[in-house]
């Protein structure tokens, strides 16, 4: 495959030189020797391992189906949904939104630090993001324990079924995201990343941003929109 064709596939890869291409799965792009400054954010697109993007798309697909199901169901039970939506704690949800947005900001700072080759700073920012994720989990758990205390479960009614399913599915993804970020932070703490090689940080960051994005859709859809 010529460099020209490759350029179409990787529009942001400037002057990339294809080192080797085996089995079409692995496109090894040697940007360093092409004389392009590696820390340039536009050089790698999309950021992080390609595999994670396939799974991010798959995740968004599943969440998308869930959201559509919610919307479809709400259409048929508007009164019920409005009535029980009012029982949700919007303040808690707001705190959670702020927590996730802050954590995403921390993650971005962590990625910047990694691009500059500063492992320690990267680790600090990523741990900060994990902590904000922890805030989310605590607040959400408090909400859940309130519901459980009131005897609410997946079988209470359609609204609660969707609300609990959607938020719990997301909750588990927050946990998974925190595990991934923690793994990144630990490796950074051990000096495992460099200016040239910090794909893991980008990968973890991309996944976390997806988790945040899903919440940014979930929050208005389930808590706010009437």
């Amino acid at each position: 495959m010529s460099n020209a064709k490759l350029a179409i596939f990787l529009p942001f890869v400037e002057s990339a030189r294809v080192v080797s291409m085996n089995e079409k799965e692995t496109i090894v792009v040697d940007t360093a020797s092409a004389g392009v400054a590696a820390p340039d954010a536009l050089v790698r697109y999309p950021p992080g391992d390609l595999a994670i993007w396939i799974f991010i798309l798959a995740e968004l697909l599943v969440f998308g189906v869930f959201f559509s199901s919610y919307a479809f169901n709400r259409m048929n039970h508007v009164e019920l949904f409005n009535q029980y939506q009012a029982t949700l704690d919007r303040d808690a949800a707001l705190i959670n939104t702020l927590a996730l947005l802050t954590s995403s900001y921390f993650v971005i700072r962590g990625v910047v630090a990694a691009r500059e080759g500063n492992n320690r700073l990267c680790a600090h920012w990523i741990w900060g993001a994990v902590a904000m994720g922890g805030v989310f989990l605590v607040v959400k758990s408090a909400e859940y324990s309130h519901h459980i205390g009131a005897g609410i479960s997946l079988s209470t009614n359609e609204f609660y079924m969707f609300y609990l399913s959607l938020t719990f599915f997301h909750f588990m993804h927050v946990i998974l995201g925190m595990v991934i970020l923690a793994a990144v932070a630990v490796k950074a703490g051990q000096g495992g990343y460099s200016r040239e090689d910090h794909v893991g940080v980008e990968t973890g960051a991309s996944y976390w941003h997806m988790v945040d994005l899903v919440w940014l859709i979930l929050f208005p859809l389930v808590y706010v929109m009437r």
Binding site: T26, V29, D49, I54, S153, L154, L176, E196
Partner: protein, 143 residues
Amino acid sequence: MSQAFTKAMARNIFYGGSVFFLLLLAALTFDTHMAWPERDNHAAITESVSQGKALWEENNCIGCHSLLGEGAYYAPELGNAFKRLGGKDGIKGFIMSRPKDGIPGRRSMPQFNFSPEELDALADFLEYVSGINTSNWPPNIQG
């Protein structure tokens, strides 16, 4: 640095994804346990019903019939037999009346030579099953 989809990444996604969904299945199973008492008609499980289930299994009724849609598709669904055959008497009468050598040319049910107590237990079992909340399945009385 390579922007590569490595085997290690795929392996991690396999392990992570499997554990994630195993946990989710466990959580949903736990909730299902909590929800059962309202749906599973367990209050109707008497000694006789229990014996009836044992007879159902020891005679492999599921080998021809379906129960709540599961089993074999050679003979009718029996989850709603209590309603369709007109109660316990209808069920007992049907089982008792099966000819030993079958009906010529037709799909045939064996004659099990059950005692009156066993027939009663089977009928109790099927009555209990008909009371399980199956979300309005089957669509009609024919099963």
